[in-house]
């Protein structure tokens, strides 16, 4: 459930200071919220149902995850409900399993490749859009939104058909190029490198639209007199872009990059549907690896321990993101 979340709603607010207006009604102005300080009861009533749901469906499960990560919960336990607490054993097993470290390494490298690819292409497209006239820009936007809107399960199925050994149209085109030889029967998902390239293209294809449109909006919102001045001083367009414009849209770029890292780290469906993490687990990122442990071999204790480790890693990233949000003046 990514790619449509966060950063899409209107954010017309900034610069509120929550510490200032408590018990000082006279100093309130239009931008400050929190009308009466004794409204705790109403607020509690309004937030109550959500709070209960989040506790029951998120907080309690997280506690269960922690417990099961210290246990030997497995397929049998699902029927009998019996399991033993084994202390840190699952973590020791996970951390001494070379497969786990390969999965982590693979995830980090693949995430880096995905983020780099999609952000650079997104930057290029956003820059291209500023130079297009109305009709062409409309067309590019339309195409971007289409790629963005496709559900990733559907696009994964389409990808498998594009790259299908025998009748895949991409294989046919590559064969026609006569550079790689006859690729018409190449099974992309049976080869680690090819499978990763294929999935990389799929994820980047869907990630670029959000990045391109966000950066395009940021670019046309900056003060262009600065760019014109630099232009008159004789800066080339390449330098103009990297030295003047990029620093100006840096906050947006940072948010886009951090969100991309989090989303790409969590990519699951595309890998699962295109290669199932194979051949022989060689394309399994940490998400796929965890899922396979927990729901294919039903070693749920082990899966939980890995999920906890992943969660902690992501929590660090999220922390960076939230700090960045707070620093940019967003009031939470």
């Amino acid at each position: 459930m990514t790619s449509v979340t966060t950063g899409v709603g209107p954010v017309p607010h900034s610069g509120e200071d929550p510490s200032r207006d408590q018990g000082a009604p006279r100093r309130r102005n239009k931008r400050q919220r929190g009308l009466r300080s004794n409204d705790g009861k109403t607020a509690a009533m309004l937030f109550g149902p959500t709070g209960l749901i989040l506790i029951a469906l998120v907080a309690v499960p997280i506690v269960f995850l922690l417990i099961s990560s210290f246990s030997d919960f497995n397929q049998r336990s699902l029927f009998t409900g019996e399991f033993n607490i084994v202390g840190l054993r699952q973590y020791v097993i996970a951390l001494s399993d070379s497969e786990f470290w390969f999965a982590i390494l693979r995830t980090v490298l693949f995430t880096a490749a995905l983020v780099l690819g999609s952000v650079l292409i997104g930057m290029y497209i956003s820059q291209m859009m500023t130079r297009l006239n109305g009709a062409m820009r409309y067309l590019v936007t339309f195409v971007l939104i289409f790629a963005w809107a496709m559900p990733n399960v559907a696009s994964s199925i389409v990808w498998k058909w594009l790259f299908q050994p025998g009748y895949g149209v991409v294989n046919w085109m590559l064969t026609r190029l006569r550079i790689f030889g006859d690729m018409s029967n190449t099974a992309w998902s049976n080869n680690t490198a090819l499978a990763l390239i294929c999935i990389w293209m799929l994820v980047v294809w869907q990630a670029v639209p959000y990045i391109a449109i966000t950066l395009y909006a940021a670019t046309i919102a900056v003060d262009h007199s600065c760019l014109e001045a630099a232009q008159l001083d004789g800066a080339g367009s390449w330098r103009l872009y990297w030295q003047i414009l990029v620093p100006m849209i840096k906050p947006n770029l940072l948010v886009v990059a951090i969100l991309s890292v989090i989303w790409d780290f969590n990519v699951f469906n595309q890998i699962w549907l295109v290669s199932q993490g194979g051949p022989a687990g060689s394309t399994a990122t940490i998400g796929v690896f965890t899922y396979t442990k927990a729901f294919v071999s039903f070693d749920i204790g082990q899966g939980s321990a890995i999920a906890v480790i992943t969660m902690l890693m992501l929590l660090v990233l999220t922390g960076v993101y939230i700090r960045n949000l707070l620093k940019s003046g967003e009031d939470l």
Binding site: L35, L65, F73, W148, A149, V169
Partner: protein
Amino acid sequence: MSARDNDAVRDIPVKAKKRFPWGRLRTNTAAAIFCVIWFFPVYWMVITAFKPRNEVMTVNPVFLPTHWSLQNFRTAIFQTQFLVNLFNSVLTTTVSVVLSVLLAFLACAALTLYRFKGRRSIMVTVLAIQMLPGTALLIPQFIVFNQLGLLNSYMGLILAYIAAVLPFSIWNMRGFFLAIPVDIFESARVEGASEWQILRMITFPLVAPGIISTSVFAFIAAWNDYLTAFTFMKDQSKYTLPVWLASFSTPMGTDFGGQMAASVLFSLPVVIFFMIIQGNMVKGITEGAIK
């Protein structure tokens, strides 16, 4: 990115010499190539879906089909569990979206219109929940729902969707609440309106666009979910459409024409909703920024 003309150049009249605009041609060509590449997967899906069976698998692909056929759609709809699974998807998605949006509306009212201790930490928590890895909630929910007998049931799936969609809904709707000028509430209170009346008669209509936008995004998120449904629902008759699509097969074996028709059927509502909301959003971004 090395094209010489850009916005800045065009605005400076001194440099506007009369010569062939190579840079412009180059940019437009690049844009056209980009559009062709980026749109091709969608084009290929739709074209394949409408091809007659004998034109789907050919040694040389048919790029512009001469014969159009609805055979693949008939296969996808009537020779599979499509209608049953469509019902499952619509039911679970609708219930979880309605409940999530309702809860998010009340929660946002609490979080933006009132000041209370711990508000900030609630927002940070809500944001952090969204960033959890998929398996972190899936594994314990599976264990708990297994104990409660909620696996393979609509109820379990709906609860899992609410957990996934609610934090995002709160986060998305909050921006709309913050855009309301506070003075409106002040004057309503002075007039003697109760909190409940304010919520129903003032806040609700004012954030209606936010409710629509949040519902659409929540709908897309729940509609597109594959992992949870795939893990929880074991009977084919309980599958939702993403699971149906991922495990698509017809009595004739692997049928790519049918698969593409199925992909079109599944994507269509999402693409339509997305076009409506996102088209407006892009227009909003662009127009607002130019001002």
